[in-house]
């Protein structure tokens, strides 16, 4: 067991979020499903940590567990050395769905409400903080609009502003751009990187898109499906570089790792 980290000069080196040996199971009407099996990884401060895997690898379930929405059946998760128990504003979620904004509040009220109801800030302070982050995502003109009048991309920007305004220890993003059209997605990815350059937040980002993982992440966790297990961790600098030893691009290497089983399966079929 690692000792809980203390805020020292060494803090930057200690992992911010430690996930060790986490097995997640949930019950459907008929079955007990194992979503992930003994998953371990460490996220450090200012990481853009991407969890990448095909559908059914339990990556969203894993993120929900980090968010505190479900408890692991085995293993544990520690944020700054403290075990995760239940949802809390120190881990702000950005969901894939557009309906994550409260429809009865304007853009500004949505951001402020998060600050106020979590008890983080009140009154003027909350308002100033909200406007600061609304400005960061270029939505000042829409601060007084209700969510139903915004486009999908704008709604996601509000959700990001809302999560970032809380200045959480770690941002949890569950395929936040998956429901957007290709052009908007591309733009949002660049904006997210820009925001990271400005504020250096820590983000745990779940996606099933290899190009998105390569672009967004500095560290990519690869997972295999049924049940989700760790296949490896790779580094990325966003430019999809060619690996000198194998002579292949990062995205191709990821593709090979993720779909190796399927290729073997197909080969077996052909030879058989």
């Amino acid at each position: 067991m690692r000792p809980p980290s203390t805020p020292t000069a060494d803090e930057g080196r200690a992992p911010l979020l430690q996930v060790s040996g986490v097995t997640l199971q949930y019950k459907t009407e008929q079955h007990l499903v194992t979503a992930t099996y003994r998953v371990s990884f460490d996220v450090f401060r200012a990481d853009r940590f991407v969890v990448l895997g095909p559908s059914g690898c339990g990556k969203s379930t894993l993120l929900k567990a980090v968010g505190g929405y479900m408890a692991p059946t085995e293993g544990n998760m520690r944020l700054k050395g403290v075990p995760v128990r239940g949802p809390g504003p120190d881990r702000m979620f950005v969901f894939q769905e557009f309906d994550q904004l409260l429809p009865w509040k304007t853009v500004k009220q949505n951001v402020m409400f998060a600050l106020q109801s979590s008890g983080k800030m009140r009154g003027r302070g909350a308002e100033a903080q909200a406007m600061r982050y609304i400005e960061k995502v270029n939505l000042v003109k829409f601060a007084h609009s209700y969510p139903h009048t915004l486009s999908g991309g704008m709604k996601q920007r509000v959700a990001i502003a809302r999560a970032m305004a809380m200045e959480p220890d770690v941002l949890l993003m569950d395929e936040p751009f998956a429901a957007l059209d290709a052009l908007t997605r591309r733009k949002m990815q660049e904006e997210l990187l820009q925001l990271w350059e400005e504020t250096r937040f820590t983000v745990l980002f779940v996606t099933h898109s290899i190009p998105e993982a390569v672009l967004i992440g500095n560290r990519i966790l690869l997972m295999s499906p049924h049940p989700g297990q760790v296949k490896g961790e790779l580094n990325s600098d966003g430019s999809d570089p060619v690996d000198p030893t194998t002579g292949r691009k990062l995205s191709d290497r990821i593709h090979d790792v993720l779909f190796a089983d399927r290729i073997e399966e197909q080969e077996a079929l052909h030879h058989g």
């Binding site: 968010g67 929405y69 239940g86 949802p87 809390g88 504003p89 881990r91 702000m92 979620f93 969901f95 769905e97 309906d99 994550q100 409260l102 429809p103 009865w104 409400f113 998060a114 109801s117 979590s118 008890g119 209700y146 969510p147 139903h148 009048t149």
Partner: protein, 300 residues
């Protein structure tokens, strides 16, 4: 294989013609004649809901007047003008306003109590599984039971007074509102619930800050249905039951005038009931809707 493929080859396989590429500039919006044009006066008038509905009411009044005049039997159907006259006299003498106040006072008491209880039940149902079972069992048992059927029992329990009427009013409001509120709470999306819990909201603050606004369209429907049920129950109870604690309401006004064969006054009583219904629906509920669910884009 070759035999199978042979017929496919005979199907013509057209390919699209090759065309030259082109790019062009589009005309700026200002240079195109009409991009946006105001509607004509008639079109704008036709867009006013209240105008269309008033037109319907006027047509009904004209039909009523014509029919009653042709029938010429004021004991069966008095004319619209006679009803209006009786209504006016009732107001001038202070009889209708006073009876109306009595009714509305009782109504509001019963309605408010019913709403409070409904909120309590649904909050319990959202927080505990047993509360959920309790609410589901009670609504399925009591919702189909007409409030008026409880009146004889209420008379035995609470005597000849306001309390018995309030009891049946609560019964008529409670289950309808609870049923709608509960189904509204349950249809709040998982994402919104997770958002609320992400902020650290739980228990009663989760109910008031997330569930109630998110379920507001259903709650509003429940409030409307509850209001209509309460109104009906009240008038019916007053008709069956007459005066309570020395002062009657609109139901009693109708009953009394029927006994004296003052049929235009009976119609005037009914007319008052309808007017209050229209007022509450079109002014109170409509404006609440506009300020809330429509503004939030939860209802069109």
């Amino acid at each position: 294989m070759a035999e199978l493929r042979a017929p496919v080859a005979r199907i013509p396989r057209p390919s699209p013609p090759t065309r030259p590429e082109y790019l062009r500039d589009v005309i700026a919006g200002d240079d195109i004649g009409v991009v946006e044009k105001p509607l004509t006066l008639l079109q704008r008038l036709a867009n006013q809901g209240w105008l269309r509905k008033s037109l319907i009411l006027i047509l009904i009044a004209i039909a009523w007047e014509t029919y009653a005049r042709r029938l010429n039997n004021p004991l069966l159907v008095p004319t619209f003008s006679a009803t209006l006259e009786a209504f006016w006299n009732g107001i001038a003498s202070g009889d209708i306003p006073q009876k109306m106040m009595n009714s509305v006072q009782l109504l509001i008491k019963g309605y408010a109590l019913g709403l409070g209880l409904a909120l309590l039940f649904t909050a319990l149902a959202m927080m505990f599984r047993l509360g959920n079972d309790l609410l589901e069992t009670l609504t399925s048992a009591f919702n189909p039971l007409p409030a008026i059927a409880l009146l004889p029992l209420a008379l035995i329990w609470f005597g000849l007074g306001d309390l018995s009427i309030i009891f049946v009013l609560v019964h008529s409001v409670l289950w309808a509102v609870a049923l709608n509120t509960h189904s509204g709470f349950r249809s709040v999306s998982t994402t919104l619930r997770m958002v609320g819990r992400n902020y650290g909201l739980r228990g009663i603050s989760f109910v008031t800050k997330i569930l109630i606004p998110a379920a507001f369209p259903s709650i509003l429907t429940g409030l409307k249905i509850g209001w209509a049920f309460a109104w009906r129950t009240l008038i019916a109870a007053e008709l069956v039951f007459g005066v309570s604690s020395g002062k009657g309401g609109l139901g009693w006004y109708i009953y009394e005038n029927k006994n004296m064969l003052e049929i235009p006054a009976v119609f005037a009583g009914l007319f008052t009931v309808i007017l209050i219904g229209l007022f509450v629906e079109n002014l109170v509920f409509r404006n609440v809707e506009k300020a809330t669910v429509r503004r939030w884009g939860m209802q069109n």
